[in-house]
């Protein structure tokens, strides 16, 4: 027996192409900005107020401004166009790329698989995440662990910056780690590890409570993914503008 003969790729009449297009444009813009800042290799540290952009934290190579290397300089200066963040970016990028939300976002927006619900995808064959390379998406939780460590370092940086007084930059760094923290906690792997994997919640009241709270955050995972991503860029931009002397930090207490 055959399917109903309907030639149209979709009969949807709404603007189904708008969300994938917006997602694509958003991800593209942010990638361009992040790549530019990564390879710029400068304006990541405000010496006067101890602001360090999250994109360069921790700064682990010998070309880092010494004061910005809160955890020491483990690696020699990198050759060529390479800059300090290339050491941590694979983990940050890996975390976002294997995130269940971003997977949905770019499978739809960049790979059109599917572009929108009930709109046929343009590919002849589809194996999903059953084989290499996409089977590697299953490694998400290890990126979650790595990103959690980096988050703790960002929190440490944000706290350290209070040593010089209080300025708008401090507030921005604080909001940034707040959003990054909420995004990381709301992760599906985190939800699973905290309690989701249990069969008997009744035997683990504390983990059940944690799972319940994380589930609430997890409902907002998409919103947190975008908010934290955009805010990291804004934080970095603010630090870059202050570090380059383009603007001066708004100070409340010195």
């Amino acid at each position: 027996m055959a399917r109903a003969e309907i030639a149209a790729r979709t009969l949807r009449t709404d603007r189904w192409w708008l969300p994938p297009l917006t997602t694509f444009a958003g991800l593209l813009l942010i990638s361009i900005y992040a790549a530019f800042r990564t390879f710029q290799g400068d304006y990541y540290w405000v010496d006067q107020y101890h602001y360090l952009t999250p994109m360069y934290s921790p700064c682990l190579t010998e070309e880092c401004v010494p004061a910005a290397s809160h955890f020491g300089q483990w690696f020699p200066a990198l050759p060529g166009f390479l800059t300090p963040p290339v050491i941590i970016i694979p983990f940050l990028l890996g975390f976002r790329i294997t995130c269940y939300y971003y997977r949905k976002a770019y499978y739809r927006a960049a790979w059109a698989s599917p572009p929108a619900c009930a709109v046929a995808e343009p590919h002849n064959k589809y194996t999903g995440e059953t084989r290499f390379p996409l089977i590697a998406q299953n490694l998400h939780r290890y990126f979650f662990y790595a990103a959690s460590v980096l988050l703790l370092i960002n929190i440490y940086d944000a706290v350290l910056a209070f040593g010089t007084g209080l300025g708008l930059g401090n507030i921005i760094l604080l909001v940034n780690v707040g959003l990054l923290g909420a995004y990381t906690l709301s992760c599906h792997s985190c939800r699973h590890i905290a309690g989701g994997r249990l069969k008997h919640f009744s035997k683990h009241p504390v983990r059940y409570w944690a799972w319940t709270q994380i589930s609430k955050l997890n409902n907002r995972h998409m919103q947190l993914a975008w908010a934290s991503l955009i805010f990291v860029c804004l934080t970095d931009l603010y630090v870059a503008l202050v570090a380059s002397g383009t603007i001066s930090d708004l100070r409340f207490i010195d």
Binding site: R3, E5, K104, A118, A120, E129, L134, G196, H200
Partner: protein, 249 residues
């Protein structure tokens, strides 16, 4: 408020078919199924449509309205403009029987492939005791009315007929999750989910959740938790390395 609405309804069978235009009266408070019934009563007495409860509970009237998979009986006419032409087509993923009626037996085959609930051997029926918190998660999945809109929308089979063999679809992967999370189920369903029911085909793009008339969080609460369980079992690099080194399987 009565007006003459414009409709395009797919008519045909497995030998072929086409969209046919109709102009039908629409009254205040009606749903698309009312219009289809009026069509049957006035202009197309042989129009085939499957329905039963007209209350969004039997899951019979699944179809596609303006290209979106929906229940005919739960789609209010008030969400459309009076000037709009409304297209009603059968579900695309299943073989057509006639007009708006498809053959959904694919889903029954997939249902049979999921091994049934396996309580502990020493527990007699009537002795089952469970705590509410332990069964809550699987209770969400019990809201399913088996409309198969999720199965119809999932691109894994909608766009790739050849994947039907390997992929159980969101409805039945959710059934696997329901049993896996059940406090008294003893069967091991994690490897099965990946190897027999094709969980890896799902790329969590969430169309199943988007169309579910019961608003079940299929992707977030069933499919992703199952993927995480599979990752526990199969893709933990430490476990994997141990298996390689010590030739365990």
């Amino acid at each position: 408020m009565t007006y003459q609405g414009r409709f395009r309804v797919w008519r045909g069978d497995d030998a072929g078919g086409a969209l046919e235009d109709f102009t039908v009266e629409v009254n205040e408070g009606e749903v698309v199924l009312d219009i289809i019934h009026r069509l049957q009563a006035t202009q197309a007495p042989d129009l085939a449509v499957r329905w039963n409860c007209k209350a969004g509970k039997c899951g019979s009237c699944s179809a596609e309205i303006n290209g979106r998979p929906r229940l005919l009986c739960m789609t209010r006419m008030s969400i459309f403009e009076e000037s709009e032409t409304i297209t009603v087509t059968p579900m695309r993923t299943f073989p057509i029987i006639r007009d708006l009626v498809t053959d959904v037996s694919f889903n029954y085959t997939k249902a049979r492939e999921v091994p049934s609930f396996a309580p502990p051997a020493d527990l007699a029926p009537g002795e089952y005791r469970m705590q509410q918190v332990d069964v809550e998660r699987s209770q969400e999945f019990r809201k399913c009315i088996e409309c198969f809109l999720c199965q119809n929308t999932c691109h894994v089979v909608r766009d790739h007929e050849e994947n039907k063999e390997a992929f159980a679809g969101p409805r039945f992967l959710m059934r696997v999750a329901e049993l896996e999370m059940h406090p008294l189920d003893t069967a091991d369903r994690v490897d099965q989910a990946q190897d027999e029911h094709g969980l890896g085909y799902c790329n969590i793009t969430k169309c199943c959740s988007e169309v579910c008339p019961e608003h079940i969080h299929i992707t977030d609460n069933a499919l992703i938790p199952m993927k995480e369980r599979v990752a526990d079992r199969k893709y933990d690099p430490i476990v994997w390395l141990g298996n390689k080194l010590f030739k365990r399987s």
